[in-house]
């Protein structure tokens, strides 16, 4: 049997030492719930399973040129990232409950927390959450604990995929989730101000938002704070290579999806939820947190700390139920950021912005294609108005080898002709040109 170690003879030896039969060991299972064999296929050898999965993988279209983003991006990943995370000492370990044999994981998480603080300009970060969506949910719950209020305002320029998750998670809870409609691709300041007239725990915004538009929330933060609420900013960590940080804008909690930091798209996961906050809110923060300390000889070391917030101590009064998080993805992000360094991150972000600008110019030069929003500040994603249903156009472009973007009508019904396009550093000038030609061709047909 694959991966099962003891031989039949060793099993017999062990049963003799135990003094019981195999049946005796399973005797506590009532007869009515025994199972005499599963209806599953016979096992495969490694060679067979690799052949089969090669064939299965071949039925996924990964040869399309991706201009598809929506919060999940096709970025370049240096080979050293996977070489580092493939070390068995990291990926076959579990949560570092025994710090003396887990300094590798613990120090790596401490360094990761430090990098998230430096990216966001906030003082404390946790060891990771599941993904960008659950990170917003956890931030919202955290803000309610901090403020002792139960009303939350979220702008509809926040990723709609995450907003439907918030609706699911809060369905059984006593809270009001208010959605404000964006205005011209930006947060609607008047609607938020009106919503803040009642006691509110938090306002949730995104930068760059789902439409790709970048925004400075510094003024918004003042208004939010004046009403005793917290500002939660969901952000795109790679963009923070050039964009103003959430901390600099006055955010109280920054969260986001860390997939852009060296993690493959992998059909939706595993990804990385990150969270950073102002230090005063630390004890209301969910998730694992690593801290520095010393041993009896004064040697520096790292441990899980502030565990009194967590489920294994506090049980039903814990700040969250999270246990297993995304430690290996946090390690991935740390290795990626170390390899890029400050200049590499800035250059990569700049490259995304430059290529997006170029694509924007090329595509809006096509007759009938116009920018949807007047506001022109965007990072690497933008919305185009097409002369016909964007979903149809995208369907036509698939036949020409492009995943040309995300048609917005699925989440914004009045944006039927709107296409959300993402451009990463991996897209070449030539690919952008070919997309422009293909788009022009399908629009002429």
């Amino acid at each position: 049997m694959p991966f099962i170690a003891s031989t039949d003879e060793q099993r017999r030896e062990m049963l003799r030492a135990i003094g019981l039969s195999l049946d005796d060991l399973f005797a506590d299972i009532p007869a009515g719930c025994r199972c005499t064999g599963l209806n599953l296929p016979d096992g495969l050898s490694e060679q067979e399973v690799r052949q089969r999965l090669t064939e299965v993988a071949g039925r996924n279209s990964v040869d399309l040129t991706l201009f598809l983003g929506g919060g999940f991006y096709d970025h370049f990943v240096p080979a050293a990232v996977q070489a580092i995370t493939s070390r068995g000492e990291f990926y076959t370990a579990y949560t570092p409950y025994q710090p003396e044999v887990s300094q590798g994981t613990l120090q790596a998480i401490y360094e990761y927390q430090s990098m998230i603080c430096r990216l966001t300009d906030l003082e404390v970060a946790n060891a990771s959450l599941y993904d960008g969506g659950t990170a917003i949910y956890e931030a919202m719950m955290m803000a309610m604990r901090v403020t002792q209020r139960s009303r939350v305002v979220v702008d509809d320029s926040v990723n709609p995929i995450y907003r439907v998750m918030l609706e699911s998670y809060t369905r059984n809870l006593h809270l009001d989730l208010i959605t404000t409609p964006n205005r011209g691709g930006h947060v609607n300041r008047d609607a938020v101000a009106a919503a803040l007239a009642e006691p509110t725990a938090a306002v949730i915004v995104q930068d760059p938002n789902f439409f790709g538009c970048a925004e400075d929330f510094a003024e918004l933060a003042k208004g939010v704070h004046a009403q005793g609420a917290l500002l939660i900013v969901s952000c795109y960590p790679l963009a923070l290579g050039i964009l103003k940080s959430p901390g600099a804008m006055g955010a109280d909690i920054a969260v986001g999806e860390g997939q852009s930091l060296g993690i493959p798209l992998s059909f939706g996961g595993p990804y990385l939820g990150f969270m950073a906050a102002r230090r005063e809110h630390l004890r209301k923060m969910p998730g694992r947190i690593v801290g520095e300390t010393v041993d009896g000889q004064g040697r520096r070391g790292y441990v899980l700390t502030l565990q009194a917030r967590e489920q294994h101590i506090k049980r039903e009064r814990a700040t969250s139920n999270i246990c297993t998080n995304e430690a290996l993805c946090a390690l991935t992000a740390a290795a990626y950021l170390d390899l890029l360094g400050p200049d590499g991150l800035r250059q990569t972000a700049q490259l995304c912005a430059d290529k997006a600008s170029y694509a924007y110019q090329r595509l809006t030069a096509i007759p009938g294609v116009r920018p949807h929003f007047r506001a022109k500040w965007f990072f690497n994603e933008f919305v185009l108005d097409l002369p016909r249903d964007a979903a149809d156009v995208v369907g036509d472009l698939i036949h020409r080898g492009f995943a040309a973007g995300f048609p917005l009508s699925r989440y914004y019904p009045d944006m039927e002709n709107c296409l959300l396009l993402a451009v990463t550093e991996k897209r070449t000038k030539q690919e952008i040109g070919m997309l422009a030609e293909a788009l022009e061709a399908v629009l002429c047909n």
């Binding site: 599963l38 096992g43 300094q103 120090q107 070391g301 139920n321 890029l340």
Partner: protein, 488 residues
């Protein structure tokens, strides 16, 4: 060892970013930009690789040696699963593709993996339908309780309370609480199992359901499991199966046949996906037929022509607990494992896991008495009460003594109902020789506890750091190496 921030030199690069083939023409106002890039380390690729190699040598994984961390099922993680998860056909697949026009045809391979896993997990658990969305065990618990709430809402049941045994993992009460329920604790009896009489006393019409781990955290099969389920069902409650310990019974018994309504599985435990130093995991949730309509959006269906599609029209669904289809890369690894083990291999998993745990108990019980004197399933809970009473050596000291002898310690001080608990789960991927070495180490520690307890109090001495001052960590709170914010 130095932090990465203490290494490197200004101007050094690890990665050369590709040259730009477009003009620089940024579409961002100066006020939207940060004054300077984040203060990340400046290192060569070799600096970075050496740093992480050094860190990895200060870490212990299943690849190092026996990792008997009870309830965590630290079995071997097959290398082939890592290889397959990295195939470009899976790793480079964008999750939004199925939402494009005709997009389902672009991801037939991935949808087949999800569908086949659904079918196999149904067979293994006796459930009627699964979702792969939950991204960890505790996330599966929350999803399961949300399904429980949706069921009661649909039936206009007024339910307020979830019952949970005192030996449960902390995630159970935490999950029930954040889903909006009150939690009431059911005590265990002297035999280590749930006290059925007390459970019946606690039953009211307000009980929404019961969360149960079986075998429980003492490694014991709940012999009254069917009667417990009947009692909960008598008030239209639902019985939730925490699959943390499925490894003990996979192929031998199915939660669906025991009367459970909702099941979560930990693919990173039972089905050999890596624990990653604390994730990512995956916590698929299965339900009986009457609950299938409440499962999250979307589910994969197989059409008459043999192709696969995502179904989004689910009016009674709890909605979305993940953005897409869960931790697909983890589900894929577990799929590879299940395909390789097949029917016969899976039955052998539980047998060897249970033999291994009972063998360790049989070889150690004279020195470390079991918490409950019964045969165990896949893990045994032994106690260090003798050593604590006679020599002042506690479970934590034994754990540190094991580290010096080359082993990862078991789970200690859990379950909370047992004094000086040591929860030992060897798993089926360990051979008898490894168990014998572990037994020898545990017996050596017992001898040292009597002869030289001070040496055990000083353990570990073979590691890069000794016991760390956790009180200081929580008091001084150095949680990040961060330069002062320069952003005003």
């Amino acid at each position: 060892m130095q932090l990465i921030f203490e290494k490197g030199a200004p101007g050094r690069h690890g990665v050369e970013v590709a040259r730009s083939d477009v003009p620089t023409s940024i579409n961002l106002a100066p006020a939207l930009l940060r004054p300077r890039p984040p203060a990340l380390p400046e290192l060569s690729e070799l600096d970075v690789v050496r740093h992480f190699t050094a860190l990895s040598r200060r870490n212990y994984g299943v690849d190092t040696n026996l990792y008997p961390l009870g309830s965590c099922t630290m079995k071997y993680n097959p290398k082939v699963s890592e290889r397959i998860a990295a195939y470009p056909g899976f790793a480079d697949l964008h999750p939004l593709l199925p939402q494009l026009r005709m997009g389902g045809s672009l991801t037939q391979g991935a949808l087949q993996v999800l569908y086949d896993m659904d079918v196999m997990l149904r067979e293994i658990t006796g459930m009627a339908a699964f979702t792969m969305q939950p991204m960890a065990g505790a996330h599966g618990e929350l999803t399961g309780i949300m399904i429980m709430a949706a069921y009661h809402r649909d039936r206009d049941n007024r339910k307020t309370t979830v019952l949970i045994p005192d030996s449960a993992h902390g995630t159970n009460p935490a999950s029930a609480a954040i889903a909006g329920y009150q939690v009431k604790t059911v005590p265990s009896g002297a035999d280590g199992c749930m006290d059925l009489a007390r459970l019946r006393e606690m039953l009211t019409d307000e009980v929404a359901g019961l969360m149960m781990t079986c075998p429980n955290t003492l490694g014991l099969f709940e012999r009254d499991v069917q009667r417990i389920g009947e009692a909960i069902h008598s008030v239209d409650g639902l019985v939730y199966y925490d699959g943390a310990n499925l490894n003990a019974i996979v192929g031998k018994a199915r939660p669906g046949d025991m009367g459970f309504d909702i099941v979560h599985l930990n693919l990173h435990k039972s089905f050999a996906t890596p624990h990653g130093g604390g994730g990512p995991g995956a916590g698929p949730v299965g339900v009986v037929g009457k609950l299938a309509e409440f499962l999250p959006i979307s589910v994969v269906v197989k059409r008459d022509d043999g192709t696969f599609a995502l179904e989004y029209n689910r009016p009674k669904s709890i909605g979305y607990v993940a953005p897409f289809y869960g931790n697909f890369g983890i589900v894929l690894r577990a799929y590879v494992y299940l395909l390789m083990l097949g029917r016969n291999g899976l039955a052998r998993v539980a047998e060897n896991a249970v033999i291994n745990a009972n063998y360790l108990m049989a070889r150690l019980r004279d020195l470390y008495p079991p918490a409950v004197d019964r045969t165990c399933m896949h893990e045994c809970v032994l106690t260090a009460e003798n050593q604590a009473r006679d020599h002042g050596i506690r479970a934590i000291d034994i754990a540190k003594g094991l580290i010096d002898r080359g082993f990862h310690p078991p789970t200690v001080y859990f379950p909370l109902t047992v004094h000086e608990a040591m929860m030992i789960e060897p798993t089926e991927t360990e051979a008898k020789e490894a168990l014998d070495e572990f037994v020898a180490a545990m017996r050596d520690i017992a001898a040292q506890a009597a002869a030289d307890p001070a040496a055990l109090h000083a353990a570990p001495v073979t590691t890069p750091v000794g016991r760390l001052d956790e009180t200081r960590a929580a008091r001084d709170l150095n949680l990040a190496c961060a330069p002062l914010c320069d952003c005003g």
